[in-house]
Point group: C2
Chain length 367, copies 2
């Protein structure tokens, strides 16, 4: 990771590099903080998107104090960075119980119970104080108890609370199916239905557990919502960077995307109208979306300015094919002759979380 003066940014880049526009990221953070404030909810941003102390510090400047991560390793990393309230928003991995016990001594640690059979193991092995959340499957069909499995949920809570270190603290859900919706109206409908389920559960359990909260997360619904339906906590992550997928979902404007991958041009084929860049699946990931003509692509090309900032070309240029280290960018007719081998072009990633994970050690911050 490097911090370089504006005028030297491009000249210092010689291989695929993740550019973070901190001004755009700050605006994205600021907007989400405002949304949470207006909803009277606490923003607990998901740090799996960036996994970097430097971006964490940006959040601190906006008063953010609680975070979510998706692995014990990430929790350790951010505990080392001074974060003291961390939820591991991933089904608790029993095999890491020793590290969880050690971490729970250092920070206020939240863990998730997402299925039957987990609580007895947790109760037997936990030796430090944790907040235990029940994960509810609000329709993404990935992880969590079904909202109507009240008996199983009650049993899981009772089994866990046999261990006095474990405090049942609320319900969490990630509405991942918002990513499969064709329009923003359906995102809102998923949000409303999911929060209904969580609020019903909260009502049923709060007599016995008066301090429980509802924690809701996913960038599309948190970005688009007019109403947060009483959630005490919001856990979106991607919004700090956004990406082409979020733009297609209507969760951001193209100008809000705060990251681009700078890639060296290694071949120009004017007859094919193709550029080939050093930038492939090990830099951008193989995540794809469909362009408006229904063909898959792996990112959108942007033109880089000397200071590292970028702009879209007059016609959209998609990364049409990707292999381990190669990216093939399709250009409009007669556009290829504007590029030479050795140039840098930017690529807006389809999924910024995956590109950020791959290029963590090759990140440059723009001011």
């Amino acid at each position: 990771m490097e911090d370089v003066k504006s005028e030297t940014i491009l000249s210092g880049i010689y291989k695929p590099t993740f550019l973070v526009d901190t001004a755009k990221a700050s605006v994205n953070i600021s907007r989400m903080v405002s949304r949470a404030n207006m909803a009277d909810a606490v923003l607990r941003p998901h740090f799996k998107t960036h996994q970097l102390h430097r971006v964490g510090e940006l959040f601190k400047t906006f008063g953010v104090q609680r975070i979510a991560v998706s692995s014990v390793s990430m929790a350790e990393y951010f505990a080392d960075g001074g974060w003291s309230d961390i939820m591991i928003a991933f089904p608790v991995n029993i095999r890491e119980i020793d590290r969880i016990n050690a971490l729970a001594k250092r920070v206020t640690l939240g863990i998730l119970v997402s299925a039957e059979g987990v609580s007895p193991q947790l109760a037997a092995k936990l030796q430090s104080s944790v907040r235990m959340y029940i994960e509810v499957d609000v329709g993404a069909n990935r992880t969590g108890f079904l909202p109507d499995a009240v008996e199983q949920i009650a049993k899981a809570i009772a089994q866990a609370e046999k261990n006095p270190w474990i405090k049942f603290s609320g319900f969490v859900a990630h509405a991942g199916h918002t990513y499969q919706t064709p329009n923003t109206q359906q995102v809102s409908e998923i949000h409303r239905q999911g929060m209904n389920s969580l609020n019903r559960l909260k009502e049923q359990f709060q007599r016995q557990h008066p301090e429980i909260v509802v924690s809701w997360g996913d960038t599309p619904s948190c970005t688009l919502a007019d109403d947060f339906f009483g959630a005490e906590e919001l856990r979106p992550g991607n919004f700090v960077y956004f990406d082409v997928m979020q733009w297609q979902l209507g969760a951001c404007a193209m100008e809000d995307i705060a990251v681009a991958v700078a890639t060296p041009v290694v071949a120009v084929y004017p007859k094919r109208n193709d550029l080939v860049v050093y930038g492939g699946a090990v830099h951008l990931s193989k995540e794809s979306v469909l362009c408006n003509k229904g063909r898959p692509h792996f990112g959108m090309m942007v033109l880089l300015n000397e200071n590292g900032s970028w702009e879209l070309p007059s016609s959209p240029c998609f990364v049409r094919r990707i292999t381990q280290e190669h990216g093939v960018i399709a250009l409009p007719n007669d556009f290829a002759n504007r590029f030479s081998v050795g140039d840098l072009v930017g690529i807006l990633p389809v999924h910024s979380c995956l590109a950020a994970d791959l290029l963590r050690n090759y990140t440059v911050f723009l001011h």
Copy 2:
């Protein structure tokens, strides 16, 4: 990376971990060495697949002395590991010219010119001795000069050889389109046609450049070929590990796959017949293939033995969905009750090169 005694392998694993069965990998190497020997060709295995010294050492025991890599960084890594003849089998990245110059002083370095406009820049900037190969596009449509672009190729060679450090050394091709073929017969046809093109070019240029060679690479054709059509050098990479994609192409048997990703079970859903593992896109990549029913999947589950070895379950179990850290494995009816949270299951990756890249620092070798 760790070397652990057999009986402790599973007990020492707590997060997604790349298991390499060195016995299987050795057999895979040995077979490819034999194939190259029979074809009177030199095996220059592509080390982008594993990117690890330990696997490199395995190749050394079979007498392998030349290697291919796909970036300057990988070339530096293996030069540090004692490899002295390295081809960067990727269009030369002019932006890394200083590192290329430094590396060329340490090892016999091969670089690729894959398009017009590259040679003049190379000629202007190279200050150490390199072997320059012309990359030919034999139909993959990714990188390289078209086989009939004889004039442009002659020009690129002449432009490069104005710099006395550059020695034109031959033609290389990667028939990546073998990965899109529905059957092994088409793989052979691609191989035959591609080698015809390369041999024609060699004939045209060898009067002036008597020492040039033809270098051919890609695992499907190198594994399936009965005839190597006179290639002096073979550059397959994936064969050391193989994977589900290669198995589907008919390039290996299921038993030849030498790697599996060990993943902790974090949730079991018997009603849905799903297992959820800690093992997602940042561990396996988002590479998918279609199962024989035409549905995409991200890997095949295997049952792990205590010593780390694995076997297929009686019915195939596919990783049907994958997000950043989650993998969802679909099971046959009544199979879920065999698993508990905290178990480890293995996943044969769809594309071992990408999984190996992601889990490079979490690799365990089985003996």
